[in-house]
């Protein structure tokens, strides 16, 4: 087995410590930022949805601001966003490089992305349910939690899936600007030194991660749709 691996990916085996380190870093980034994105992005998306004109907590100024934040951050290419946020990252995390340095830019890229997905998922909930809930004397909070969020679970699962997949994508890009992880591993060895086996290995691992996320996401959607 070891022999076989050495024969097909000699440079990966040679640097197996660095490789595993990079893999761990990618998992850390996806894990930490994934949790942050869900924790911040879902409330963000709910507010974005609920403050819309005609919606349950309608509030023009708040909606205007959230909407603009969303548009702006979503339109900046990730690589530029990471550079712009370098200062903020140093301020908050104490560093602009490594996994620690990547968390702020990745979060800023992912939260608005997920927010939009959540807003879309909530918009799919039929308007009649709002009317029914109001007629039953539900408060806005109850309507959001017991009606919108509950009914939108499949849509939210879909949104989280897509967000995690773009997050995996972003972590690879972050590698180009010193974030560490598989992206950085592929760039510094696979690309710069021309070790194509490293390139392919990283690629396959990322494909597997993405497929895994998609498969789990699909299963959750299927299980929660009635």
């Amino acid at each position: 087995m070891a022999e076989f691996l050495t024969s097909i990916m000699p440079h990966v085996v040679e640097r197996s410590d660095q490789f595993w380190q990079a893999f761990r870093e990618t998992l850390q980034m996806v894990g930490i930022v994934g949790v942050l994105a869900v924790v911040i992005g879902i409330p963000f998306g709910v507010l974005l949805f609920a403050t819309k004109p005609g919606a349950i907590l309608q509030n023009r100024p708040v909606h205007f601001i959230l909407n603009k934040i969303c548009d702006i951050f979503r339109s900046i290419p990730f690589i530029l966003l990471a550079m712009i946020l370098l200062g903020l990252s140093r301020l908050i995390m104490g560093t602009g490089i490594g996994v620690k340095g990547a968390i702020i830019p990745l979060t800023f890229a992912t939260v608005p992305f997920l927010g939009r997905q959540i807003e879309g998922a909530l918009s799919e909930v039929p308007a009649g349910l709002l009317e029914a809930a109001q007629s039953m004397g539900c408060s806005p909070w109850e309507i959001i939690t017991r009606v919108y969020l509950k009914e939108a679970i499949p849509g939210i699962a879909r949104g989280v899936t897509i967000t995690l997949i773009s997050l995996i994508n972003f972590t690879a890009i972050a590698g180009a600007i010193g974030a560490g992880g598989l992206g950085s591993f592929a760039i510094s060895y696979g690309h710069s030194r021309g070790y194509t086996d490293i390139m392919w290995t990283v690629l396959i691992i990322i494909i597997i991660m993405v497929s895994l996320v998609q498969t789990i996401g699909n299963a959750v959607v299927k299980k929660t749709s009635h």
Binding site: G128, M136, G137, E151, H226
Partner: protein, 341 residues
């Protein structure tokens, strides 16, 4: 139970819509009150003003002695639990089972799990779906969904049930069964019911009193029998005529149908029984007394609110047609001569 006092609702926007204009209505405790009108007449807006889903731009709404229009949001939500509503599109929560849907309004009521469970099962029994507790709404037919919606609406022990076109998405047979269910519940629990519809058949079937809406205003109001037997407004007349075939005769006359060909001296007349409390025996009576032939083309008599209502269209021929008609009028039968031979 429900008092609307000079209620108006105007939607502002690109162009103003006066959806409800100065409506004053009283719905008594325990009655089934119908509101009928054509599409866009403002029925839904009016009924949504009762539970303040729509805030009236003017006027006051009082339900069960409490003026809702004077309340804050929080108190209003509390009151809404006593005013349930069912909808044309059922509005069940698709991600919850039938039992969870019915239990939905009971959250926060302080009832224990077992009590809620028993209550849900009793309600499902009442609407005839005891075996569907664990089904999801997507697995039910329209009629079954509406039954679940009714069970859910009753879970909070409301005093008022508002039905906005609750049977409009259902076939005639299912409509009947849902209407009878509502009637049954009204009789058993004494709940006050407001039924919004554009179908006269619905009003006829279960309502005690009815209000007719046109262009945002209530143009006519009364017991179903009164409104049916002597409609005052043209909107009302057109609704009443949809439930009877007596109006078809005009079209036949216009088309010169052979059925409407008359011998000299004969007439085609429409007789409306109205309040006269007579039956078709009157026909044989004029036949005997005045020696006329009465050939019935259409006949439509039904029992509304325990009284017979309707009439017939007939060709009356003979030498003493005029006297026969005079006699009928004496008996309070409204006679319209539509064509003379």
């Amino acid at each position: 139970m429900i008092t609307l006092d000079h209620v108006s609702k105007t939607f502002t926007g690109a162009n103003e819509v006066h959806a409800v204009r100065d409506v004053s209505l009283t719905v008594d405790d325990g009655e089934i009150f119908g509101i009928i009108g054509y599409s866009g007449a403002g029925k839904s807006t009016l009924v949504r003003c009762i539970n303040l889903l729509e805030k009236p731009t003017a006027g006051t709404v009082t339900v069960d002695g409490k003026e809702l229009t004077a309340m804050g949001e929080k108190d209003l939500r509390q009151e809404r639990k006593k005013i349930s509503m069912i909808f044309q599109q059922f509005n069940l929560l698709p991600s919850r089972t039938v039992a969870q849907n019915v239990a939905f309004p009971l959250k926060g009521s302080g009832l224990g799990k077992e009590v809620v469970r028993k209550k849900v099962m009793d309600l499902l029994d009442m609407v005839g779906l005891p075996d569907k507790a664990d089904a999801y709404p997507s697995q039910l037919s329209g009629g079954q969904k509406q039954r679940v919606a009714i069970a859910r609406a009753l879970a909070s022990d409301p005093k008022v049930l508002l039905c906005d076109e609750a049977t409009s998405a259902l076939d005639p047979q299912t409509t009947q069964s849902i209407l009878h269910l509502i009637q049954d519940i009204n009789r058993k629990t004494g709940i006050t019911v407001v039924v919004i519809t554009h179908e006269m058949a619905v009003v006829k079937e279960i309502c005690h009193r009815v209000a007719v809406m046109d262009a945002g205003a209530v143009v006519e109001e009364g017991t179903v029998f009164d409104v049916f037997s002597s409609p005052q407004q043209s909107v009302t007349r057109s609704f009443v005529s949809t439930t009877s075939n007596l109006g078809k005769i005009e079209a036949l006359i216009a088309a010169d149908d052979p059925m409407t060909a008359l011998a000299p001296g004969a007439v085609i007349a429409r007789l409306n029984y109205g309040h006269s409390n007579v039956s078709e025996a009157t026909i044989s009576e004029i036949s005997r007394r005045f020696n006329v032939d009465v050939n019935i083309i259409f006949s439509n008599v039904e029992i509304i609110g325990g009284q017979s209502l309707g009439g017939l269209v007939a060709v009356i021929s003979g030498d003493r047609v005029r006297e026969a008609i005079g006699y009928l009028s004496e008996k309070n039968v409204v006679v319209e001569v539509l064509k003379r031979g």
